[in-house]
Amino acid sequence: MAATRLLWGKYFQYDRDGEAALLDPVALNSCYLDRREVTDLSAVSPTATHDALAELGFTPDGPAADRREALRNLVLDPTPHRISGLRIVLTDRCNMACTYCFVDTNSGKPDMTEEELAEGLRYLFEENAGQDEVSIQWFGGEPTIRFDLMQYGDELADRLAVEHQVKRVRRTVVTNGARLTDEALNHFIRYEYGVGISIDGPPDINSANRLLLGGQPADTRIRGNVQRLVGADELHVGCNLTPTAANIGRLAETVAWIIDTLGLKFIYVNTPIPTGGRWRVNGRDLARELYEARLVALSKGGLLFSVLDRAFQALDTRRPMLFDHMQGDGTLNAAYLPGKRVSLCDINFTEPDFLFTLNELRHHPEVLGTVTKRIAPIPACGDCPALAICGGPSRNEQLLIGGDTPDPEMCAFYTETVEIALWDNTGVQ
């Protein structure tokens, strides 16, 4: 059984079966003590263990600094300086009616026009002139409903890349997989797409929340289309898995099915969003399930990525991993919407605080700071072992929950991920 306590007022000590792991929550240094060393540590200082810990940077000296302030001084500028990728929302029309979708689908609002798409792409390439890469992700609704726009946009993007000396265009599409024409498949191959198929698991799980507009399941059709995509060697095909009430408790089994039956070896688990003002999953249980599922994927030759990997990467590299609003290079992936509007948060298309026109972005680039995360916004963050891995709610989460204080389940999730990652030093992924 594990227990946590504070050592010398600044390090978290996790005790388990007589051993211990120490964590500096700001510098992200960590180390392991065996049973003898744990006993030695509780003896009067200095012992051999105290001396050895000092060599590793763990000392009882110095005041217990304000950890939130120390972290803020450590991290880089949290303000994005450029939009380097667009999630292009071609239409809100969708052939499915998934219960948890964050997009208001089939609202009757007009699709994006060719002219709007062209202006959005021009903005993207102008902003990234001379850069190595821009990314375009086709999104909806179901984006393949407007496959004509995808074709138009991909051809235009190639021309703009030459014009603005952008070396590479990374293209992805997020689709439910329920419709795939030969023409679309050949187009994806030609442009070396990454194809992310949204699916929650075997038919009994998937059909709990993901049904066609008419209410019938689409699993047979989706499975056939996945096989066609996987059969095209040139494509990178993966699964976007959303944790739901139907698959939580069965994530490992779900992942095994996705790998064994669908043949998809790359699985990304979407992070819960506090829609309706709160997390709807048990954070601690979800963290443990993700860990189990991650290892099941590895044991089957697959890879599962989730927000859990943040904790592993942060501890392995000793680098804070708390920016969920921008890329590691300080750039932003934004959503481009019909009507020439950009949402600086690509998972929230309606919040007025995030919405800007292309002209506003061109003339007032400082508005990119609107989406900047406030690091560790509440005092309790300073007492949390996940301080440099969670960093508190994002701007989007703050707006959804109506304040600075994170949902308790979110806190439980991140503190559990830290403990899981701390005790797993294998570096297998």
Binding site: N29, C31, Y32, L33, D34, R35, E37, T49, A52, L53, L56, F58, G85, R87, S135, Q137, R170, T172, V173, V174, G194, V195, G196, S198, H236, V237, G238, N240, F266, Y268, N270, T271, Y291, L295, L298, S299, L303, F305, S306, V307, D309, R310, Q313, D316, T317, R318, F323, D324, Q327, G328, N333, C345, D346, I347, L422, W423, D424, N425, T426, G427
Partner: protein, 118 residues
């Protein structure tokens, strides 16, 4: 001596994982890249080492305790190689012992006698 966590900067996905949080699909572009890199590294290692191919190896994955165990037929001697790597030194030792016990158990079930090492 307390053991520091190893430093690892070669995660299979080099982009900050949170980048993918709301941009599912982007990470898939890493697939060819990391597998190509693995091949390149192995080719480089082959030039620097004396080596034999290790056919039929498996990597067992454990959650309790966390860790991996590589089990492989020794290509030149009549035995199996068991190499465990756990989340802590004690976990590694436990995984190693468990791996060796399991090999013995399977040998026994198959009626294969173990001989004392010379």
């Amino acid at each position: 001596m307390p053991t520091p966590r190893r430093t690892k900067t070669d995660h299979l996905i080099h982009a900050d994982v949170v980048d993918s949080k709301s941009k599912a699909g982007v990470w898939m572009g890493e697939r060819a890249s990391f597998q190509d890199k693995q091949r390149q590294i192995l080719e480089g290692l082959k030039d620097a080492l004396n080596w034999v191919p290790l056919e039929g190896a498996i990597m067992a994955i454990s959650t309790a305790p966390a860790g991996i165990t590589v089990i492989a037929p020794n290509p030149t001697l009549p035995g199996l190689i068991v190499l465990a790597d756990g989340g802590s030194p004690a976990a590694s030792a436990l995984l190693q012992a468990n791996g060796e016990d399991l090999v013995r158990q399977v040998m026994s079930d198959l009626g294969i006698a173990e001989e004392a090492a010379a």
